[in-house]
């Protein structure tokens, strides 16, 4: 092989490697994008049915039900126009409580013929006063004023 051909081969090899790497990166990237939806967006059918996403809202008062004997828990996440039942098995974060804004990771599914969000991870922040900006955005009317889910107002008073 002449040095020139060897160099061309090397460059071709490098280009091939780089494009393989790029393809790998883009594919992994696409598969792992996690979009955020609010309960009313999910109710309106905007959320994907076959992909993992994030669901955020306020935990409705009186909705948290633990199953005795294991770590299964069910609760309802609500925004101003809708709500969504969530099921989860595991340890809830320190600041998970009713009325708190939280974000759950998971996908759509059904529990006893009812549509529900099956979460594999539940996050609440470490600060009492902090609310994830995405949840805060979900708690606004179309005109940008703050609102409260209907169920929350009664229970809170």
């Amino acid at each position: 092989m002449t040095p020139r051909r060897r160099r061309m081969l090397l460059i071709a090899f490098l280009l091939l490697g780089l494009s393989a790497a790029t393809a790998l990166v883009l594919k992994a990237f696409e598969q792992n994008l996690l979009y955020f939806y609010s309960p009313s967006q999910v109710a309106a059918g905007e959320a994907p049915t076959d992909q993992r996403f994030r669901l955020g809202g306020l935990v409705e008062f009186g909705s948290v039900k633990r199953t005795d004997g294991n770590l299964d828990v069910q609760f309802t996440l609500a925004d101003c126009e809708g709500s969504m039942p969530v099921i989860f098995s595991g340890i809830l974060p320190d600041l998970f409580r009713e009325g708190q804004g939280i974000v759950a990771y998971g996908r759509l599914g059904t529990v006893a013929t009812e549509k529900a969000f099956i979460a594999d991870e539940v996050l609440a922040k470490h600060d009492e006063t902090y609310m994830s900006p995405e949840v805060a955005d979900a708690m606004k009317n179309a005109d940008g004023t703050k609102c409260m889910p209907p169920g929350m107002l009664q229970s809170a008073s």
């Binding site: 790497a21 992994a28 990237f29 996690l34 005795d68 294991n70 770590l71 595991g90 340890i91 320190d94």
Partner: protein, 649 residues
Amino acid sequence: MNMLPELGHFALCIALSLAIIQASIPVAGVLTNRPLWMRAARPAAIGQFGFLLLAFLILTYSFIVSDFSVSYVAHNSNTSLPLQYRISAVWGAHEGSLLLWVLMLAGWTLAVAVFSKALPRDMTATVLSVMGMVSIGFLLFMLLTSNPFDRQFPAPAEGRDLNPLLQDFGLVIHPPMLYMGYVGFSVAFAFAIAALISGRLDTAWARWTRPWTTSAWMFLTLGIMLGSWWAYHELGWGGWWFWDPVENASFMPWLVGTALIHSLAVTEKRGIFKSWTVLLAITAFSLSLLGTFLVRSGVLVSVHAFATDPARGVFILAFFAVVVGGSLVLYAWRAPRFKAEGKAGFFSREGFLLLNNIFLVVAATAVFVGTLYPLLADALALGKLSVGAPYFNTVFVPLTLPLVLLVIGAASLNWKRGNATTMWQRLRWVAVLAVLTAIVFPFILIGQSSLIVAAALMLAFGAIYSAMEEIYRRGSRRGYRKIPLASWGMSMAHIGLGVFVIGVTLVSTYSAESDVRLAPGDSTELSGFSFRFDGISHEAGPNYDSTVGKVTLSHENKVLAVLRPEKRIYRAMGNSMTEAGVLPRLHRDLYVSLGEPLSNGAWSLRLYYRPFMRFVWLGAIFMALGGLIAIFDKRYRHPKLIHAQTGSV
């Protein structure tokens, strides 16, 4: 009335004026050839450091005496906060961490001023000027938008609190280490700019730059490692790396910094890759700036955080544009004049180092895309999204394993022209040993193995043995005393890489975890270990109330330890924190964290078995130690002896 905070503010202003002198006069002296002006750099650097140290000490004092009329103190401290955390609270939030940043920048500048006596005067002057310019940017930012000495009247009777997450030894030292690394890359950056201005980039230049770059890299390595260790035992999730944007912000400069170290070695030894080295130095520092701003400016929480304080956002963007844009323009204009002094053959040490650089830079780009795309999408209203950790894992593993292969190959290749026969001669015993250990090791220590694990361990042990082989080969040929410290350091760091890969492979493959519900007296099994929950007790800490669980660990009816995982509520703000209970051993960690109280006195508990967790951090420590050893190489101290030893890295 206590005027100290005003004095601190005043010290910052003086430091700014000294920075302006340091940034302008010496470089003007270089351009007009006036030695007296060039000499102004050193006293200006010393003075700047003095005044910044004064400001820093005053802020620390305000924290110690809880002077809540200083708004920053009132927001981040509290009279019940223990003394050591009142001191570390100085860098616990935005304003104070900026002050720490400029203080370190001044410290590095001082070090360059003191240890650069052997450098040509114009080079020192330019380098110090460039560092002065960076300092001006940060001091202006601090004085205009984020003054740590701002007062508030009337002073509140009690402060808020330091974020309880930061009330931990790991987070007392993690930010300073990380910042030492970030800021340290400013030296490499300043040398790169000086090379662009002067047009001189030779072996001597690479020798001056190398120890500074290696020191910065060493600090960054330790800083990242401490962050990972802290997250492991403080967050209660049992993980050691989450691909969180905050972690990625520190990892990107590390990847590019690692590429820079290797590229500098080639530039020193072979006089090639010159423009590339300069570009890497600029990139490493730009990413350090990006990291600082990403973490502290609030932009990660939301790009709209900028909207609440537009001055900060605009200043950051402008400063970033000046540093990155300015240096890239200078680069485009001046870099073409650097001439390579030789050719790179592919099958040689420099050829392998080139590939290493490509992999590292591609890896850094992948992290960059995954970290910044969500911010971009949010800013452009494309939707609210985040990039999940699986993305980083899928991309990262195939990109980094070839790197280990390159380390093995490079250790056996000579500069200029390598030779496959010699390579094989040098590596065959390494290969045999690596294969044997890779097969036996997991069976003996964990009791199981798989093809993928064996393959990854083969690479890891290959890196360790080939590093040892190189030292042995050179030591037996010419005596171990003749081996330069830089080579000892390199081998140490590569052994560290091997240890790290062993840790990552085993901990990510054979970890077991379980979330369980246990009533007092109940026990459960995980990976052959028995965890018995003996109930909880309540204890009071200095500034928090704690619920302490008692978990007895045993193995084959022999009690190993009693772990005490905690759930703390900090009184000042009512924040809660989880402290895991860990039984650390070299070959495995057993880990318990408290979940939440359930009915009938039962608790939810998170249990982990993590084999070889310590190897991950130990590997990082070895890498940093390698860096430390390399810094003391003789040839960096006498950079005038240019045509000295060859064959060392």
